[in-house]
Symmetry: C2
Subunit: 504 residues, 2 copies
């Protein structure tokens, strides 16, 4: 047995390493496409990406994978495995089942549909006409309903769609979490709007040459602990962080010469993602555990660094003088308090990606309610514009004037990514829980004010980063904070911060 | 039969397209490693490159490839194929035979040896101590002697090593070509040295900020016909061009702020390679024919553009005024004639990569003589420093003072690339033949002086670029110029150019 076990371990390790190598190559290809590949590269590159993705998928559902998983899962073998091995096997089993149950023909048709739907969505958004996109959306929802049945769920079909993004999460859990957030956040947003206090947006206006911004961002990234020996900073239309390997976690940002905060907070946000990946244990590389625990946990890191640290008073006590070195104009004549208030302006708006820290979660709750209702049949794709607009009016007090600034604003649905949105708000929930727990042993504001970010990194590494994808997100958060996903910390954080900012 | 033929064609097309997709992905990974991947990326990226290369190799020697080739090569099938299909099959057959005959274990050992040898070579070069590298070189030569026997040859073992770089080329042919060049070039080099005329090197001295050089190089590339919609210009320690696909052919260069010509001629050189690839028929993509005809033909394009066009009087009549726009200092006070003479200074030197157009070929002949003699057993690896130094003294009249500036200067042998060097000089031979043939119908100097490069591109496209790898290099050159590889045109070109420059 011992000998067989060693052989099977070696085969499993080789197989997962090969899958990871394909993912690494695909990662480089995606990064390249988004950071400066020539426009005409796209057509052959897409074919290459398709081929490599298919090979990678083939391995994850191969006979060999099935045989290895069945071997390890035997009652007399399982107890012999280490905890980390079991987590790897669990992840591979999930992928195997998820991908193998869908007939390949069906999956290919779905992928082709979403590829086409993304172009149609672009046109529809340009024309601000939901009807153009509707036939595609109907088909995508039908496919995903079918997939949900194939994948299986206990209570709600949407549960099946949540799993790839947030393993273990359910509608029941989300209803409890978002149900608690929704009224309190809506109330807080109304109070802020009613306060009549509007920070002066002109405080941040100026001219900020890109090259100088790059220098500033590099300086900040170094301070926060991002390792340029194992990463690089580039530009892309939509900023992202991508972990290609333990020695290669890249960040992109985008610059506006009129508005420093676009590039600055974009960079800090991606830095949060990147720190997580740079601190993943290199020993997990080549297994499915060299990854964040979930989309939500990943987002908790970016939000914690961007908003809870990067938009804190302590941070700007320290960094406004640095900003003044780089841009004496306009920052030489602005107080920390003015700056702090300006970067924390909260106001109900229509576009999720431009939303502030406070109102953002309501944008997500709108999408969650819609996705959930689409999959339990309470609404159909046809109802979306009306439902969307009513929810915005109800939760945020604003009503989209057209489809482009309403239901057509996000690409996710065109790409078939139903189940993804909740992770964004869960990220905020987790981040607030982590911050609250961290404060029990770390003087967070003091560390930020002194630039001792290593204490913050140390805490996050100890509780989150070093586990990779070993635990399901709520288990990880419970281990780190004493509680599974719980909206109280986020509510308290927002009420405290915005209450003080807006004199509520 | 017709139906089977169509099926087999489709299978063959799918297989070669898959191989090409792997090569495209590998190309992006290599480009990325050389243009700015983080230092710590190297270890996992190397594993990924190893995995993808192995998959690609596996396909090229697969049972399926064997079956397809055997089918197409049947006497009743072959006549039904188009000329282009036959050329594809010929290329796949060559790869199949070459790679399948080496036992996989032996090949892996050889690859591991060369990987190690490259690091050892670096140390040896740093220490300027050939003895450190010698044990590795001995082993590499032994492997390649074994491979040559396995691959087979008609007359000379070295013939087998030439094939991957220059299909159809033999020692017999090279002896004739280089045998004619060697005495005449050595004589011309001696005459130039004896002329006592030395162009003033200070004419090119100045301070050239990199950003400004980049703008100049982009301008030049656009003028020469390089398509930035299907390419990009980056920096790397060793400049290169890489064709990733019909819509993506990239160039790198390197800049010296003291010496404009490093980046400038580096860029024009790589532009020659890149034009060839950008003009390959997109219809050949996914077949082995989407490639240059050989290393030598590829080099003929870079040399033609860099030296025969880029270092011509006509070119600088047109472009010195442009240089003056970008760098009034020092070029505002230099005449075209002074500039032309400065960029064509010829002087025997020790380092191949720094050699001028005239002496360069003698550096190659030194290496050719050594490689040939190593494989017919007239010399052994142990003899290299002595043989090297004597050949330099004999051909170039200079003798290396140590191993670093002598036998250890090139990485090729450490990487196992024996058979590669002759292509560099063949590139010059082919380029001169092409130029001579082109002059019969195109007013080359007039076109260059007027910036009508499209006439030159048109001629090259018609005779060379549009065929891709359809013909073996000497067949292609014969079709284009009326003669297979023939050193007369190069000799006449060099005697004419340097005779005039040095008043011989």
């Amino acid at each position: 047995m011992a000998e067989t076990l060693e052989t099977m371990r070696a085969r499993f390790g080789a197989l997962t390493a090969k899958i990871r190598s394909y993912q690494e190559a695909l990662g480089v290809l995606h990064w390249d496409l988004r950071t400066g590949a020539p426009p005409r590269a796209v057509s052959t590159r897409s074919e290459t990406i398709g081929m490599l993705s298919a090979e990678c998928l083939r391995l994850s559902v191969s006979e060999e994978m099935g045989e290895l998983l069945a071997f390890f899962e035997q009652p007399d073998v399982w107890p012999l495995l280490h905890e980390v091995e079991r987590a790897s096997i669990r992840e591979c089993r999930r992928e195997y089942d998820r991908n193998r149950r869908i007939p390949p023909e069906t999956y290919r048709a779905f992928v082709a549909l979403t590829a086409e739907a993304e172009s149609v969505w672009e046109e529809a958004k340009k024309a601000s006409d939901f009807k153009v996109f509707l036939p595609y959306l109907r088909k995508i929802v039908n496919y995903l309903r079918e997939f949900a049945e194939i994948w299986g769920y206990r209570e709600h079909p949407y549960d099946a769609l949540l799993q790839p993004y947030e393993p273990g999460m359910t509608v029941a859990r989300l209803d409890r979490i978002f149900g608690a957030l929704r009224p309190k956040l809506a109330e807080l947003v109304r109070a802020v709007a009613a306060s009549g206090k509007n920070p002066d947006p002109s405080a941040l206006k100026g001219h900020f040459p890109v090259e100088r911004q790059k220098e500033l961002n590099r300086r900040l990234l170094c301070d926060l602990g991002y390792d340029f020996e194992a990463g690089r900073l580039d530009e892309s239309a939509h900023p992202f962080a991508i972990g290609l390997g333990p020695g290669d976690v890249r960040i992109t940002t985008r610059y506006s010469e009129d508005d420093l905060t676009v590039g600055l907070f974009g960079t800090i946000h991606e830095c949060g993602h990147a720190l997580y990946e740079q601190y993943l244990p290199a020993g997990l590389y080549g297994t499915p555990l060299w990854d964040g625990a979930s989309m939500g946990v990943h987002e908790s890191q970016s939000r914690l660094w961007e908003n809870m640290i990067g938009r804190s008073r302590a941070f700007w006590d320290r960094y406004l003088p640095v900003l003044r070195e780089y841009f004496p104009e306009p920052f030489g004549r602005i107080s920390t308090e003015t700056f702090y208030r300006a970067v924390n302006a909260a106001r109900p708006s229509l576009i999720r990606t431009e939303a502030d820290e406070l109102t953002y979660n309501l944008h997500i709750i709108v999408r969650y309610e819609i996705e959930k209702s689409l999959f339990d049949g309470r609404i159909s794709a046809d109802d979306l514009p009306t439902v969307w607009n009513d929810l915005y009016a109800d939760l945020l007090g604003v009503r989209p004037g057209n489809d482009a600034e309403g239901v057509l604003q996000d690409v996710h649905w065109a790409g078939g990514s139903f189940g993804y949105f909740p992770s964004y708000a869960l990220g905020n929930v987790y981040a607030a829980q982590l911050l609250e727990a961290m404060r029990k042993t770390v003087d967070v504001d003091g560390c930020v004010a002194d630039g001792r970010f290593e204490a913050i990194r140390g805490w996050l590494h100890e509780r989150v980063w070093r586990y990779g994808k070993q635990f399901d997100p709520e288990d990880l958060i419970e281990k780190a904070t004493g509680s599974p996903a719980n909206p109280d910390a986020l509510l308290a954080y927002l009420q405290n911060k915005y209450g003080e900012l807006y004199g509520l």
